[in-house]
């Protein structure tokens, strides 16, 4: 099976030898970088640059040269509100509803996520039988596709679903349609996204816990330190750098919540689970009143928030590395 592969590689070798003679060693470095950089340039860097120009244009045309230059009009439309605390007073009210939903989602989801992930990591770090099995248990949903995650939970939360069955068996409660209720739907998106990503953060925290030197705990035990004190004085301070990285990572990814929610509730009922990415997606591609320029402007505003969060993360991980170097 490998022979044709070898043949191809051998055939490529001859012209590349000539290239090497002409370009030298550094030229070969450029050659090896070229495919990756080309794809990068076309599909990541170029869109990044175009995005700014795009947000200054209007109309529904796709190609930039055909689009009409409108200056800051898209941003003006987003920011024209009579009262910034009330989304309904804005012309582009869905953007502000999506932004408010996202902010609320991020705050609640990240807080709960960190708490649950930390407890899970602490539990997994204990002297338990079959640790790798239990670690895998919590990690399982991380691998599932967001569409599958969304469908699994839609199936559980629907009228003939598992949740209603459990409530019926336990309390004789009559079945409810959870996802048709604004508050329950919002709660469901938080719960499901925690369920889906918990294992990932627990894993990073577990790695941090395992890096704490064991002799510190032994010393504490010899001194007869109470477990609660050990946790506050040893575990938490030494885990703090990892914890900060996890918090920022969770923030960055919570801002970009889309896939699971889109399948679970499609942003509904009404706009109660409409988050920013879905707003951008619908403005840019899906809705009747498409406005790619407005979508681009919204995506830049979201990008600015992400840049701040990313810089925070880089700063935290650098200070962690420096601490480790010392």
């Amino acid at each position: 099976m490998l022979t044709p592969f070898k043949l191809v590689m051998g055939l490529i070798d001859a012209p590349l030898r000539a290239l090497q003679k002409a370009a030298g060693l550094n030229g070969m470095a450029a050659f090896f970088l070229l495919p990756n950089m080309a794809i990068f340039g076309i599909f990541v860097l170029l869109p990044l640059v175009i995005n700014f120009v795009y947000s200054l244009t209007g109309g529904t045309e796709i190609f930039l040269p055909q689009r009409q230059f409108v200056g800051m009009a898209q941003y003006q439309q987003i920011f024209s509100c009579t009262n910034y605390l009330d989304p309904n007073s804005c012309i582009e009210d869905t953007f502000w509803i999506a932004a408010r939903n996202t902010a609320l989602f991020v705050i609640i989801q990240v807080t709960l996520m960190i708490a649950v992930a930390l407890i899970t990591a602490l539990v997994l770090n204990r002297d338990i039988r079959g640790r790798s099995f239990w670690r895998a248990v919590f990690f399982f949903p991380v691998l599932l596709s967001p569409v599958v995650t969304g469908l699994i939970w839609r199936w559980i939360l629907q009228r003939q679903g598992l949740l209603n069955l459990i409530l019926y068996d336990a309390f004789g409660a009559s079945p409810a349609t959870w996802l048709a209720d604004r508050n329950w739907a919002f709660t469901a998106t938080i719960g499901v996204s925690i369920w889906a990503h918990l294992g990932f953060y627990a894993l990073i925290l577990l790695a941090g816990l395992q890096a704490i030197p064991k002799d510190l705990y032994e010393a504490a035990e010899m001194d007869g330190t109470r477990p609660a004190r050990v946790f506050w004085r040893i575990t938490l301070p030494l885990l703090a750098p990892n914890l900060l990285v996890v918090v920022v990572l969770a923030l960055i990814r919570a801002v970009q919540i889309f896939d699971e929610v889109f399948v679970l509730t499609a942003g509904g009922p009404g706009t109660s689970t409409l988050y920013l990415i879905q707003y951008i997606y619908e403005k840019g591609f899906a809705s009747q009143l498409r406005n790619p320029g407005l979508a681009a402007a919204a995506s830049i505003l979201m990008g600015a928030v992400l840049v701040v969060l990313t810089l925070l993360q880089l700063w935290f991980s650098r200070s962690r590395d420096q601490k480790e170097a010392k």
């Binding site: 060693l25 090896f32 995005n51 599958v148 598992l162 068996d169 477990p227």
Partner: protein, 350 residues
């Protein structure tokens, strides 16, 4: 029994139970149920008939109503345990139903028709698997097509990712050239450019390249993963330069060094990246949703979402296809989960 309990509840060092031990096991067992339960429930449900899916309260296991072939009737008839007006019970087959009155016959003596209120009927059920949930979507819907599209996208994207990223990693780890740190910085910066921020202009570029409604439009933007370059570069840095120098002395070309010396030595890192890439690309949703609007090009994820978003959701098929979509990921989980968890713990990948 006592010995087993003693073994299970025995603790290292012979110490007694502390409240934290109880919390630990409650958390672990609860986690086991909450993490696996939903997927297991979905898998059981996927074998139920549409009638069973519409029932409340639902049963845990899939049941089907038994049918029987009765002389004089073309179709097989459903069997019921009927309580007759005189108080006796009998196993009868239903011929038709008018309002709340069912007309039944005795399968052994199909001459006489018995009329019974449907309140007095209980279907004769046994555990049965509605496997047609799995076969129908492949025959009557485009799911085979979706499956093929997903396999194509995943395979191609992973192969190209491995080649392109390993080449770049080789250049960044084994050469010293001007602008090297600038290149690293650009890659580092793009690590944090999420699709949500660039999807609008990216769509116009895909259109300009004629890749709209084309599987390559899904594949190409994903293959130059910064994470992949990083992972491979870190690994290649540990390959001793002496090996490469020795190969150069033997007049090996740089290309030969790349694929005969460095690639085989980087196999463990390539394997980890391959696993990640397969899971990422198989699970991708938002970008395929934007690029693919023709239904014959849908990947499994997009197809599933479209069918699940219809007004009249045919859950029996959706559930079965969700299970099919889950299979590769479950296989990866069972056999390769170790590589992924060490990859995440080590490099913070995802």
């Amino acid at each position: 029994m006592g010995r087993i309990a003693e073994f299970i509840f025995r603790r290292r060092g012979g110490k007694g139970w502390h409240w934290t031990d109880i919390v630990t096991w409650v958390w672990l067992i609860g986690g086991l149920i909450i993490m696996f339960g939903p997927a297991v429930w979905l898998a059981f449900s996927s074998f139920k008939t549409p009638q069973a899916l519409a029932e409340f309260p639902p049963s845990l296991l899939p049941y089907v109503t038994q049918t029987v072939q009765v002389e004089g009737y073309d179709k097989p008839l459903q069997l019921y345990d009927a309580t007759l007006p005189d108080g006796s019970t009998a196993e009868l087959a239903q011929v038709r139903r008018i309002g709340v009155i069912a007309q039944l016959v005795d399968p052994k003596a199909p001459g006489e028709i018995v009329k019974v209120n449907i309140k007095d009927l209980k279907p004769v059920q046994s555990i049965g698997f509605a496997t047609e949930n799995y076969t129908e979507p492949f025959v009557h819907f485009d799911f085979l097509r979706y499956l093929w599209n997903s396999v194509f996208v995943t395979t191609m994207a992973t192969l190209i990712t491995l080649v392109v990223n390993s080449m770049a990693a080789f250049a960044l780890s084994k050469y010293k050239f001007r602008g090297q740190s600038a290149v690293m910085l650009v890659i580092l910066a793009t690590l944090m450019v999420p699709l949500g921020v660039i999807m609008v202009p990216l769509f116009s570029i895909i259109n300009a390249l004629g890749l709209f409604n084309n599987l390559w439009g899904v594949i190409l933007p994903t293959v130059a993963t910064p994470t992949g370059v990083f992972l491979l570069r870190q690994y290649m840095l540990t390959i001793p330069d002496e090996l490469i120098d020795a190969a150069r002395m033997d007049k090996a070309s740089e290309w030969l060094i790349y694929w005969r010396v460095v690639l085989p030595l980087a196999a463990p890192a390539l394997a980890v990246l391959a696993i990640f890439s397969v899971v990422w690309r198989w699970n991708d949703f938002l970008w395929p949703l934007i690029v693919l609007s023709r239904s014959s090009l849908y990947t499994l994820q997009v197809g599933l979402n479209v069918y699940a978003g219809q007004l009249n959701v045919q859950w029996q098929f959706i559930l079965a296809m969700t299970v099919v979509t889950m299979i590769p990921v479950v296989v990866v989980f069972v056999f390769l989960q170790r590589f992924i968890t060490t990859g995440i713990a080590g490099a913070g990948l995802k």
